[in-house]
Symmetry: C2
């Protein structure tokens, strides 16, 4: 999974410390962005010393990559769970509700963890950009496979362009999350997903 730290073997305790650091960094970077999150903030939140942090990560950049991997695992995990057996419109609605519950739970703060990191790092860190592109590729694939399965099951017409719809759905999701974040209102993400599903409904046989 994580290929950043190599060479030194990690004790159970060490793994726990490392995880605490990544957790703290993930939370803070989602809230404030990468550049505004200081190493000292992370130290305090995670309850570790400077030497510990630099024992597990070569520098802040290295930590950022670990945060990307961590958030990718979390986000893709949530969506994989819901989309794995995407075989009906009912299942799609369950996914929809789950996404919106998450947004509501955070009161629209932070936006999408991957989207925020992407916007933050796209132009300043090529390695981070590539890794985020990969994560979004996997996410898109999840939607692609799900919609293709729906088509196979006869829920959608055979000529439905599921690949395009999957990409458009991901775009709508990202944009909806961003708009919900700045408006502090779940309406945009709700409308974005519902409209995507409505479009899908026009493609039933």
């Amino acid at each position: 999974m994580t290929l950043s730290t190599s060479g030194t073997r990690l004790t159970a305790k060490g793994m726990a410390t490392r995880a605490r650091i990544v957790d703290a960094a993930s939370d803070l970077m989602l809230e404030r962005g990468v550049a505004r999150t200081t190493i000292e903030d992370i130290q305090e939140t995670a309850g570790v010393s400077a030497s510990q942090l630099y024992h597990y990560f070569t520098d802040k950049n290295d930590l950022v990559l670990a945060v990307i991997d961590h958030q990718s695992d979390l986000v893709l995990g949530i969506h994989q769970e819901s989309l794995d057996r995407l075989d009906s419109f009912a299942a799609l609605e369950v996914w929809r509700d789950k996404v919106i519950d998450v947004v509501r739970a955070t009161h629209c703060a932070g936006g999408c963890p991957l989207g925020s990191l992407a916007s933050d790092l796209a132009e300043t860190d090529p390695i981070a950009r590539a890794r985020l592109a990969r994560a979004f590729g996997l996410w898109e694939e999840l939607l692609r496979v799900g919609l293709a399965a729906m088509r196979e099951r006869g829920e959608l017409r055979p000529d439905t362009p599921t690949d395009d719809l999957a990409l458009a759905m991901l775009a709508g999701l990202q944009g909806g999350l961003l708009l919900s974040q700045i408006r502090r209102d779940t309406q945009p993400i709700e409308v974005a997903i519902d409209t995507a599903i409505a479009h899908l409904r026009t493609m039933r046989p």
Copy 2:
């Protein structure tokens, strides 16, 4: 328009200098984000001294607000021009091509100026968030009015939920721009807009 600097009257020369500063700051902040853009960078790019910068803006935050206003004017200007007489699907396609030309011209770098600022500032600067929310509101309104006009003209069925479609379109646009930015490929934004238009086409009388 700009309500940040008040009290002192501006000479023509002063206005030019101020504009040079805002232009430079806008470019740099779009490329690197707000926190990674230093005052010194802006000074060099704009060709001004520190005292000039602090003569026109009380602090970096104040400059950020000016950048938001500037980018809002630019972005909304571009879209207003295209959407003003949105009375047919042909006009919608013209708008689509224009948007994608802009993205292609920048080689997908930077993403949407407003979207990037929004993601950057949403959680750290409440005033900036409010102002960006307002800009997105105006943008949404542009689309709302355009689609409503299309419906009035009989291009769309009377029961078409143009308000929802406008919001979903803006979301798809934002998400598509973000995905195009991290993939360095215009495909996501193209598919996002085209899918939105395709959905609209299903609503013709």
